[in-house]
């Protein structure tokens, strides 16, 4: 136990302020955004992540926004196991034919406003997998999408940025 405490104190808090671009966005829309999160999500935004056919690269970066350096929980962002508790779906793609039904059902199980964010180049347009007998392409071929986050995979800051953009789109 004493070693655990030592290590915790030695590490300190490693959480970083957001990168400049995101920081600016907060200072510009900050008050409005906070109000929006409070108004629509009562200060807590709950996300269900759905891998609809990705290579697992995007999942690594979505994991990373939960790590102590990016620490998305400080913004009130949490990941949930059930779509029924979710305000937002974070979907990685391309949507494989074999996942299309599961993705639709997840979407149908999510209560409104159900924001949908497509993560990664493949989620946006199918990426290198394109459209074929097995890959249906971008997430918007199966469910409505609010915001796209490009990148292969998009770095953690870009994902956080995209989540903020999605809340903004709701506010409008």
């Amino acid at each position: 136990m004493i070693r655990i405490l030592h290590q915790i104190f030695r590490t300190g808090i490693v959480t970083e302020p957001l990168p400049q671009a995101v920081e600016d966005e907060i200072s510009v829309v900050g008050a409005k955004l906070e109000e929006a999160v409070k108004k629509y999500f009562r200060g807590s935004l709950t996300i269900r992540e759905v891998d609809a056919g990705s290579c697992n690269g995007c999942e690594l970066e979505i994991h990373a926004i939960n790590n102590p350096v990016y620490n998305c929980e400080r913004f009130g962002i949490q990941f949930t196991a059930s779509p029924r508790f979710a305000d937002m779906l974070l979907v990685t793609g391309p949507v494989s034919r074999n996942m299309a039904v599961a993705l639709k059902r997840t979407y149908d199980s999510t209560p409104s406003p159900k924001l949908v964010v497509a993560v990664g180049d493949c989620g946006c347009n199918g990426g290198i997998f394109g459209e074929s007998y097995a890959s249906l392409g971008g997430v918007d071929t199966v469910i409505p999408v609010d915001v796209l986050i490009h990148g292969c995979p998009p770095p953690p800051a870009a994902i956080l940025n995209g989540i903020l953009r999605a809340i903004e789109s709701k506010e409008e």
Binding site: V14, D51, E59, E61, A64, N66
Partner: protein, 521 residues
């Protein structure tokens, strides 16, 4: 050794190929009727089945061909048999080698060849709503065209008896992970049987390769399994280089090894933390996630990508390392090593943690061997397999690698293999940085000759990754076979679960941590 064994039994019935590279991997064609005999010879020679796949060779004027690749110590042998178009059957190897069970279901589903004597021909990867005659890997299949939907039902294995109940899990799982379906038959908390159903993330990767150029193929290989992007990129590149008989510079090889070891450390750190987190020891997850993030950031600074994606291509690598880059890595490794050792001590001294990970999810050495498992899973269950030792490219032939081999086969063993490998990889990276030879990092690739094939096996962080590429009549990609370690190791999870309690499944699954995307392709 394997060649002599084949010659002794099959004699002149085995015809050796001169068009399969590298030359160190023997390849022969046997008559269809003797395919199972050849497998029997391999079994007697203590070889393990590494992969089995089919290729459509109608563009060459023939029919189909089924290939089985066997491994014994540092030797690989590929045995091929021809299958005519009007009688698409071949003898099943499942009775001799268990992993052939899944390989052959896949061949049956995607290429439409029937393995005779196979005990279970339910479709695999191909779902019940696909038309039955949709065989995407055949040349006659129109890949860009969307498939129509049909009605169908998958037959699950059922357990019966008083108090037996069923728990279906997935494809969308609770955490931030890939999709797959697990069906448990349980009595109380005890699992009687686990049946996996995979294929949800089938993106048609192998078919997609056939529409790409050799250089574009490297990009796709890097996205077969995003967490193993480096190793897949290298394995693909090495298979292409073997086929074109190109020699890559030493410096390129050493840089590849550097990327490979960095990928290994990053993933192992993530896994060690996640295994501990699944038994509610969250401290470790946050600590290792922090260390992993440190590595990824160095990767971005030095190589331009957090996961070093797209940096290995046929012909070499696209990014070099400077002296200041080397210093940055050395400094980072010092920090990493200090913190990591402190965390290992914490792991080792936490009795409540050990209580959960020891004797949980045991894959016995006998089962690990009969399932022909590879990589971490194999090494935690007594199998001493590692391509870096048995099939090395420079610089792995320059030093001794201490591969940890444990025999308990439980979740702890799989975690501990990772711990030892992180230590070893740190040592290897230091050696690479000190001794890296000068030279170019890229050579021009020769055009692949028609009807040649290349093979490569590379030890990714999960284990041995195999690529087999075949050039068509115009030197284009006729077939690119991908064998991720997950293709065999998923069977290991299925066998390790019965007898465990349901709440331990996430822990067991995490300790295996196999790729869904790499399996489904």
């Amino acid at each position: 050794m394997l060649k002599e064994a084949i010659d002794n039994v099959l004699g002149t019935a085995a015809a050796y190929s001169e068009r399969q590279f590298p030359g160190s991997v023997t390849s022969c064609t046997v008559p269809r009727g003797r395919f199972a005999d050849a497998a029997k010879v391999m079994k007697k020679a203590y070889a393990l089945l590494a992969a089995e796949w089919a290729a459509d060779e109608t563009p060459f004027g023939g029919g189909f061909a089924v290939y089985a690749c066997f491994r014994f110590a540092n030797e690989y042998m590929i045995i091929r048999t021809e299958v005519p178009v009007d009688d698409p059957t071949f003898p099943s190897l499942t009775k001799k080698f268990v992993p052939a069970y899944r390989f052959e279901r896949q061949i049956h589903s995607l290429m439409g060849l029937i393995p005779e004597g196979h005990p279970d021909l339910r479709p695999w990867i191909k779902f019940e709503d696909w038309p039955e005659d949709a065989w995407p890997l055949r040349k006659s299949f129109n890949s860009p065209k969307p498939l129509p939907y049909v009605n169908g039902k998958y037959q699950w294995i059922k357990a019966e008896g008083e108090g037996v109940y069923e728990i279906p899990v997935g494809p969308v799982h609770a955490g931030i992970i890939e999709p797959g379906h697990f069906r448990f038959q349980a009595v109380g908390e005890m699992i009687v049987n686990l049946e996996e159903r995979l294929g949800y993330v089938h993106k048609g990767i192998e078919k997609r390769f056939e529409s790409l150029s050799w250089q574009e193929g490297a990009k796709l290989a890097g996205r077969v399994s995003g967490d193993t992007t480096v190793a897949h990129g290298i394995a693909y590149s090495m298979a292409v280089e073997a086929m074109t008989q190109n020699r890559v510079s030493d410096r390129a090889h050493w840089l590849r090894a550097l990327f490979l070891e960095r990928e290994r450390i990053a993933n192992h750190l993530g896994d060690i933390g996640a295994i501990c987190n699944d038994v509610a020891f969250a401290f470790m997850l946050y600590q290792t996630a922090r260390l992993k993030e440190m590595l990824l950031r160095t990767n971005l600074d030095l190589f331009g990508h957090r996961f070093i994606m797209d940096r290995a291509l046929p012909g070499g690598v696209t990014v070099d390392i400077s002296e200041t880059g080397k210093e940055a890595i050395k400094e980072e490794l010092d920090k990493l090593s200090d913190d990591f050792e402190r965390l290992v001590t914490v792991y080792d001294e936490s009795a409540s943690l050990e209580d959960r990970v020891r004797e949980t999810g045991v894959l016995t050495p006998e089962k690990a061997r009969s399932l022909c498992t590879v990589g971490i899973v194999a090494r935690a269950s007594g199998l001493n397999l590692d391509c870096r030792i048995q099939n090395p490219f420079p610089p792995y032939d320059r030093f001794e690698i201490k591969v940890p081999v444990l025999i308990s086969g439980d979740a702890h063993a799989r975690a501990w293999v990772r711990v030892e490998e992180v230590r070893e990889s740190i040592r290897i990276i230091r050696f690479i940085l000190e001794n890296m030879p000068e030279g170019p990092i890229k050579v021009n690739l020769a055009r692949p000759a028609p009807d040649t094939a290349g093979f490569a096996a590379v030890e990714g962080w999960r284990g041995e990754i195999i690529y087999w590429v075949q050039a068509g009549t115009r030197g284009e990609i006729n077939r690119c076979m991908v064998r991720d370690p997950s293709s065999v190791n998923w069977l290991g999870l299925e066998q390790a679960i019965p007898g465990n309690i349901v709440p331990d499944f996430p822990l067991c699954n995490k300790s295996f941590n196999q790729s869904y995307s790499g399996h489904d392709l």
